[in-house]
């Protein structure tokens, strides 16, 4: 196990800059997730850590050793690929032991290691099969087994679950998390699935356009997004962005909200809105902060109840998503399924702004950070 330091890494192809100075450092045993839309550079960064691609500038350190110019095989890392990349001509056993064989581990030790990994991943009964005879989930396990067998310092996972069906994906996600808890390995994991990122990571690096937008724990990123992009990318359904005018009431900046009536929403950090009075900003409010009126919240400082018109409802079982419109923006609210909300009717909803965030409308910068 080892720590990983990515120090101002840049990558250029001709004139296009794919990575624009990445700085990330993770501790031994930490689970880092790189998340972002396609083309954000996360896979390039992953390949650079693996040594499969050269970096143009900057340094990469594994276990405090500079490996920027070290060849992949000498970096002591293992990688699980999206397509699994199992060797089609070899059995599961040969697939798992290939890396050990290449490192000249004696046959007897290899067998012991294969057994250990197979038991850990519950694939002992598959050892004689070829990859073509395995299901998607089994291939996924073998791919992980191949990575685990070498006991490398650092594990890289490149979208390992994206080829699995939804149910299996959730199962394997839990499995990976358990495995990480059990083995305490250092992992860098690339995904574009923000739920995977939230559930697995110790820390998440949200990337866009070759830059890290925010690096933090899942909860930090969820509650305290650095900018509009991070706020919109993390969370499902996504955060609501409501254009709202900043008005002043009794010397305190408030946010104007127009539905069938107009109300002023209080904001936890009014001082950050001082300079924006009279301007329109974007109010970010997660769907679960807009609910049916809840008696126990009544009277709390940042809670406002107002009328909204229901456009569509989407029952999800545990909750019902209510789609409505405020300040001419479509917003999602999460309500109790028992709460009567017929499409077209006007109902009371409770806006809890205690965790609200505000962004500049043009630049997308966080205003209250």
């Amino acid at each position: 196990m080892a720590n990983l330091v990515i120090d101002n890494v840049k990558k250029r192809y001709g004139n296009t800059e794919i990575l624009k100075g990445i700085n990330i450092s993770i501790k031994t045993g930490e689970f880092l997730i790189l998340v972002g839309p396609s083309g954000c550079g996360k896979s390039t960064l992953m390949n650079s850590i693996a040594g499969l691609e050269d970096v143009t500038e900057g340094r990469i350190l594994i276990a405090d050793k500079d490996v920027t110019y070290t060849s992949p095989k000498d970096r002591d890392i293992a990688m699980v690929f999206q397509s699994y990349a199992l060797y089609p001509n070899m059995t599961v056993e040969q697939n798992i032991s290939f890396g050990l064989e290449m490192r000249k581990v004696p046959k007897a030790e290899r067998d012991v290691e294969v057994q250990r990994v197979a038991e850990l991943l519950q694939i002992s009964h598959l050892l004689d099969r070829k990859p073509a005879q395995l299901s998607g989930g089994q291939r996924q396990r073998v791919a992980m087994g191949r990575a685990l067998a070498r006991r490398p310092q650092l594990y890289l996972f490149d979208e390992p679950l994206s080829n699995l069906d939804a149910k299996l994906r959730v199962e394997m996600r839990t499995e990976i998390k358990k495995l990480h808890k059990k083995l305490g390995t250092t992992i860098v994991y690339v995904t574009h699935d923000q739920i995977e990122a939230m559930t697995l990571a110790d820390r998440i690096a949200v990337m866009k356009d070759g830059q890290v937008q925010q690096l933090g724990t899942p909860q930090e990123i969820y509650d305290n997004p650095a900018n509009l992009f991070v706020a919109g990318f993390m969370g499902s359904p996504a955060m609501n962005f409501i254009p709202a005018k900043v008005i002043e009431q009794n010397g305190t900046p408030m946010l104007e909200l127009a539905t069938s009536t107009t109300v002023a929403l209080p904001f936890p950090k009014p001082e950050s809105l001082k300079d924006h009075v009279g301007k329109t900003i974007l109010l970010g409010l997660r769907p679960e902060m807009i609910t049916e009126p809840q008696p126990h919240k009544e009277g709390q400082p940042f809670v406002t109840t107002t009328d909204v018109e229901v456009e569509v409802t989407e029952p999800m079982g545990a909750d019902t998503m209510i789609l409505t419109r405020v300040n001419n923006a479509e917003i999602n609210c999460r309500s109790n399924p028992m709460y009567p909300a017929a499409a077209g009717s006007i109902i009371k909803m409770m806006f809890d702004t205690s965790k609200a965030v505000v962004f500049d409308k043009e630049s997308g910068k966080r205003l209250d950070a």
Partner: protein
Amino acid sequence: MSNNAIGRKTSGVDKALRVALYTVLLVAAAFYLIPFIVMLITSLKDVEEIRTGNLLSLPAALNFDSWAKAWSSACTGSSCGGISPYFMNSFQIVLPAVAISTLVGAINGYVISLWKFRGSDLFFAAMLVGCFIPFQVILLPMAQTLGWLGIANTASGLVFVHVVYGVAFTTLFFRNFYQSIPSELVKAARLDGAGFFTIFYRIILPVSTPIIVVTVIWQFTQIWNDFLFGVAFSGFDTQPVTVALNNLVNTSFGGKEYNVDMAAAIIAALPTLAVYVFAGKYFVRGLTAGAVKG
């Protein structure tokens, strides 16, 4: 399947069309078979029978004398040892040329598809041009090159020519096949600690059987059937069988021995025929494998 058969009614028109289709196919098949049948029949007749009978009349008795003569005692130019020595010459040229060009093509394809380097696409495009160069164009420069290399008029010289000319095709075949192999396979092997040749030998070659079969058949047929390079670059005792066949047919003392000519021609064609019969189904399968997978 049987359910379908019961459920479907065949109308009279369908039947008529089917009969017409088979008729056309049979006629086409016969059309292509007739030359070979004529060759076979003629080779089994004696000279007298050929002169008196017609082209398609069957031989009175099976007579393999002309085959024996073609193999071991017919005259090709000034020597009269049949075509057997040249048959062996052909093998001496074809086997190494096929092996080397296939191997080089495999490595080229492996590099171009899975170890892309700056300009590898350009390199491949340049290589492709080689597929479109007519044989005749390279005759003189090649003769000069062979002279410089000191392998003019030798079997090695012909092997060299065929390898150089064949590599463009074999590279194309292997490159297209390897395009369908995910590059992650190579990445995984690199992280596992395998090097360039280990990956090629342990991971890539074992999955290449279909394309190896295609390439071997293609190269074997091309090189075995080659006449132009054979006649231009071979020495007196390194002539391939195609050249010998030409000499045999053009050498006549007295009457023309059509039966011997035909027997020699069939013998010369046998190896490619055998290769196709034994590996033909892999050939078709291999050619289409990549196309379907896309």
